[in-house]
């Protein structure tokens, strides 16, 4: 064996050292953004309710329930109740146990006169948050009964 017999495996070992460990390739969506991922970390009161940003981010993270809830609230603030209702429904399809969203949806439904649907939302929410005063009030309001009565 000559000197190359040592040089060749050394070169190959350098190749291994340079290339390993091999990276696992990821699908590149080209859409993901850190700002959107963390947008709903901020409580809604502190947000500017930038409707465009919320819409864009909801498209990036369509399963983020909190983001959808904020978007629905922003639609309500922008006097777009039908879009708000649809967005609440989308959020609740992902997380049916979110009583807070049901309460907000129920109130929205009640405002547009859909008392039976509002009642249904209140009843569903009460299964998750039994006794909660705000839900009991919504239930009674949708029944047309005076609020504040015990359940």
């Amino acid at each position: 064996m000559n000197q190359s017999s040592i040089l060749a495996p050394v070169v190959v070992l350098c190749l291994f050292a340079a290339l390993l460990p091999a990276p696992m390739p990821l699908p590149s969506s080209g859409l993901s953004q850190e700002d959107c991922f963390t947008l709903a970390d901020t409580p809604p009161a502190a947000q500017s309710h930038d409707l465009g940003l919320l819409e864009r981010c909801s498209a990036l993270y369509p399963n983020d329930v909190e983001l959808l809830g904020d978007l629905a609230t922003a639609y309500e603030a922008a006097s777009a109740p039908s879009q708000a209702e649809a967005t609440y429904q989308r959020a609740l399809a992902i997380d049916p146990a979110c009583a807070e969203l049901r309460l907000r949806l129920g109130r929205l439904l009640l405002r547009r006169g859909a008392a039976a649907e509002a009642r249904r939302e209140a009843a569903l929410a009460l299964r998750v948050q039994p006794n909660r005063q705000a839900l009991v009030e919504l239930l009674h309001a949708s029944d047309g009964a005076p609020a504040g009565a015990s359940r």
Partner: protein, 832 residues
């Protein structure tokens, strides 16, 4: 044969002594294994260590009889070997004598003596190896004489390739057989090709290293000595790296201690093996073609080798299957795979010895195998990714597809863990976490915390409180959480009348931190269980403030209760591993019946280990009473028994009229992995099945009507303590995110909104950190033991599958974990 057996016995003794001392180096291993005397055979070994030491000394001395014989004339190295042997007998004879008079190992503790002891335990092996090497025949210049030749390149290549192909094929067949190709043919085909690429890469790497070794040896004037020496160096490095990277981190040994122990162990074991090989006479010097073959295990040739080769995978599969549930963080399974690989290589080399002719050295034969293997390794995942994008089939995405396959093929998992890195691996971040995990000499200051400042209520009626923390209880093995479960009817009935919290987690995997977290009502950190824990023991403070008396069976927190706290221990003489809920409840009932004259309310706390993995694996992992399709029968059958006893206790309370005056909490300290993705147990990881908990709460009717709760909101076992304070009509202070929140508030009160908060989860024992976000839907895990990260979407039940981690997800979670760890360290005044 007798010589080798004696030496192996001495080696085993030294290794066990070193392993025991190394476990003492780690605060975690010491608290987990050594102090509770978890394994009786270890306790026996330690108690009789001086006796075993004498046995090892006698056995090793017998192997030195020839070297000690003063009548034999010697010169040169053999004379040195003689005097070393005399020194060995004198020195270690004295050591054995001292140990008999004053046994040392039983007095070893988690202190500064542990590491030197672990290192010193290898000294006899090094000493014996030196004697073996010096007493061996002087190496002849066989290269010059033409009787020695280094291992040929072609034979190396053929042996590595055949061994790799054989192992790949055997493990693929096993994986197909076990998993039933549920992922689809294309995903399977891609994964199998990638498994081949991984195996080929490992094989090419081994081949290149071995060839470099022989090439260097061939260029020297004493090739046999060089080849043997380099082989020993490689062996030492291999053992060292295996211990340093794969074994010692799993017992949380810090990096510098691990490096010391691993280096000394690698050098000692390789020297021992090399020394034994020196002693082994070559049956036919002409046939002992190469030096490295003399270092390999002696094997008969011909059909016996082929038969051994055929049996090898079967033996390996049996061993892997046997160890799957008993293993600790895959350590033994990885060792089995390494042994399988070495044996396969040895046998193939033996089998092809007379069939593969050597050829002249070739640069192409050096470079091409590595290039082809690496090219395939890189190309297959990219091809899979493109195929996934083209077909829209996400199951073809490499990260997900390979993860699935890894659960069925431990060889694939082992290789891909070593050869593939997940995107965004950040060494600095990992080092940051390591500092807060197992820093030697680190200390904390346990703060004095009161959850409430409100004055005590006037003496009056208090409900009894019964807190059942079933060790390792999984929520999906209870019918209130999983309709497929039919073996917990009593718990189902209990749940139907009470509050079933659906989104509950532990802040800590494993009991050592999970239990203190429940009592403190907070996230805790390592070293919290120490004198001073009572300063933040919220449950104990409640007990004393509200005039309760404790009836407890617990082996984690009970030892740290104040001496003045009124405590009755239930089944105090039962070892922790033997604690049984049925026996505990019977004893608790007897205690309640015997103390009816005591007007103080009772705080009952039981933490039985019926379904802990230590018990489900005992008795051969057998079911107690038949099959449980879809469930792990040894676990489910024991849970059925627990359910019956729990139902009986509820009936007892009803009969005694105490039921409607009791707060009853049924939960667990953590869950358990029962084979998900090949994982068993809960010690060093934070997978969803370990982090999620059941939590069912019964309140007395008067309390129930006055409160509201959020059964779907994210909750923690650390919320139990503040909840009990609130149920005792106390106002809580806002202590920040480290502390739990009450599960119940007055019905017109404001429920804590934690949907947008993030929560740190940590393992009690291993270096694993998790971050829970978005009301418990997102779990991100950094596992420093496996040097991997996982992201789960927990809204998909029952089994969560790790998601592909997008860069922003990694950045946000890593940043948040850092932030949480820093805040917790500041709160507990962590110093190192």
């Amino acid at each position: 044969m007798a010589f080798a057996s004696a030496r192996l016995a001495v080696g085993a003794f030294c290794l066990m002594t070193a392993a025991y001392a190394a476990l003492n180096c780690s605060p975690f291993a010491f608290d987990m294994f050594i102090r509770p005397q978890l394994f009786p055979w270890v306790t026996e070994f330690v108690a009789w260590h001086h006796f075993w030491c004498c046995g090892a000394f006698v056995a090793s001395t017998l192997t030195l009889v020839a070297d000690l014989d003063w009548r034999i004339p010697r010169d040169g190295t053999r004379k040195a070997a003689h005097w070393l042997a005399v020194g060995y007998v004198g020195f270690f004879g004295a050591v054995a004598g001292v140990l008999v008079v004053s046994p040392y190992l039983p007095r070893l503790w988690n202190d500064s003596r542990a590491l030197p002891t672990a290192i010193a335990a290898f000294v006899p092996l090094l000493w014996l190896a030196a004697i073996d090497h010096l007493s061996a025949p002087s190496p002849r210049r066989q290269h010059d004489a033409g009787t020695f030749r280094v291992t040929g390149q072609h034979r190396l290549l053929v042996s590595c390739a055949i061994a790799a192909g054989y192992l790949w094929a055997a493990h693929v067949v096993r994986a197909l057989w076990q998993s039933g190709r549920s992922a689809g043919a294309i995903a399977w085909a891609l994964t199998i090709i990638w498994a081949l690429a991984l195996t080929a890469t490992v094989s090419a790497l081994v081949y290149t290293i071995l060839f470099l070794k022989t090439a260097v040896a061939a260029r020297t004037r004493t090739p046999e000595r060089w080849e043997r020496g380099l082989t020993s160096v490689l062996t030492a490095a291999g053992i060292c790296e295996f211990l340093r990277r794969l074994v010692l981190p799993t017992v949380s040994l810090n990096a510098s201690d691990a490096a010391w122990v691993a280096t000394v162990a690698g050098v000692s074991l390789a020297s021992m093996w090399s020394g034994l090989a020196c002693r082994r006479p070559a049956a036919d010097p002409q046939k002992a073609a190469t030096s490295s073959e003399r270092l390999l295990v002696s094997m008969p040739g011909g059909p016996a080798t082929v038969a051994a080769l055929l049996m090898l995978p079967l033996a390996s599969f049996w061993a892997l299957g046997f160890m799957e549930q008993l293993d600790w963080a895959f350590v033994v399974q990885r060792l089995i795979l390494v042994c399988e690989g070495l044996l396969a290589y040895t046998l193939v080399r033996r089998a092809t010895r007379h069939h593969v002719a050597d050829r002249p050295w070739s640069a192409r034969a050096t470079v091409v195998p590595a290039v082809v293997a690496l090219a395939t390794l890189f190309a297959v995942p990219h091809a899979a990714l493109r195929l996934a994008a083209w077909t829209g089939d996400r199951t073809l995405e490499p990260a997900a597809a390979f993860e699935r396959y890894a659960a069925a093929d431990p060889l694939f998992k082992f290789m891909s863990d070593g050869l593939v890195t997940r995107a965004g691996f950040d060494g600095e971040y990992f080092r940051f976490l390591q500092v807060y995990t197992n820093a030697r000499g680190a200390s904390i200051t346990i703060p004095d915390v009161d959850l409430t400042t409100a004055p005590a209520r006037p003496a009056g009626h208090r409900p009894d409180i019964f807190l059942f923390v079933i060790d390792s209880l999984r929520r999906d093995y209870l019918s209130p959480y999983n309709p497929a479960v039919s073996f917990t009817p009593n718990i189902e009935r209990f749940a139907s009348e009470n509050f079933v919290f659906r989104n509950v987690f532990t802040r800590h995997g494993a009991t050592q931190l999970a239990a203190p977290s429940i009592w403190a009502g907070a996230e805790v950190i390592r070293k919290i269980l120490a004198p001073g824990f009572e300063r933040m023991n919220a449950v104990e403070k409640l007990v004393n403030a509200e005039g309760y008396r404790i009836a407890i069976n617990d082996h984690t927190v009970a030892a740290y209760l104040r001496p003045t706290t009124p405590v009755t221990k239930i089944d105090p003489n039962v070892l922790s591993v033997d604690t049984d809920l049925c026996q505990n409840l019977k004893a608790l009932e007897e205690h309640l019946d015997a103390s009816t004259a005591d007007a103080r309310p009772v705080f009952g706390y039981l933490s039985p280990m019926n379904i802990h993995i230590l018990n489900t694996r005992r008795g051969g992992q057998q079911s107690l009473d038949g099959d449980y399709p879809g469930f792990y029968a040894p676990y489910a059958s024991r849970l059925r028994r627990i359910d019956a006893c729990f139902g009986n206790f509820v009936s007892y309370l009803q009969q005694r009229g105490r039921y409607d005056n009791s707060i009853i909490v049924l939960t667990s300290d953590h869950g358990d992995s029962l084979g998900e993705n090949g994982y068993w147990g809960h010690a060093t990881w934070l997978f969803p099945e370990v982090a999620r908990l059941p939590l069912i709460v019964r309140l007395p009717p008067s309390l129930r009507a006055a409160v509201t709760t959020d059964l779907a909101g994210v909750a923690f076992s650390a919320d139990i303590a503040p909840t009990l304070w609130v149920l005792c009509a106390r106002q809580l202070k806002d202590l920040g995110p480290l502390f739990g929140s009450p599960l119940f508030v007055p019905k017109d009160g404001r429920l804590p909104d934690r949907r947008r908060d993030s929560f740190l989860l940590t393992s009690s024992y291993g270096a694993a950190y998790g971050l829970l976000r978005r009301n418990g839907r997102q779990l991100y895990v950094t596992d420093l033991v496996e040097r991997r990260e996982f992201a789960y979407d927990l809204s998909h039940e029952p089994t969560a599958v790790p998601d592909v981690i997008a860069p922003e997800v990694r950045r946000v979670n890593q940043r948040s974990i850092r932030d949480h760890v820093t805040k917790a360290a500041a709160f507990y005044r962590f110093t190192r």
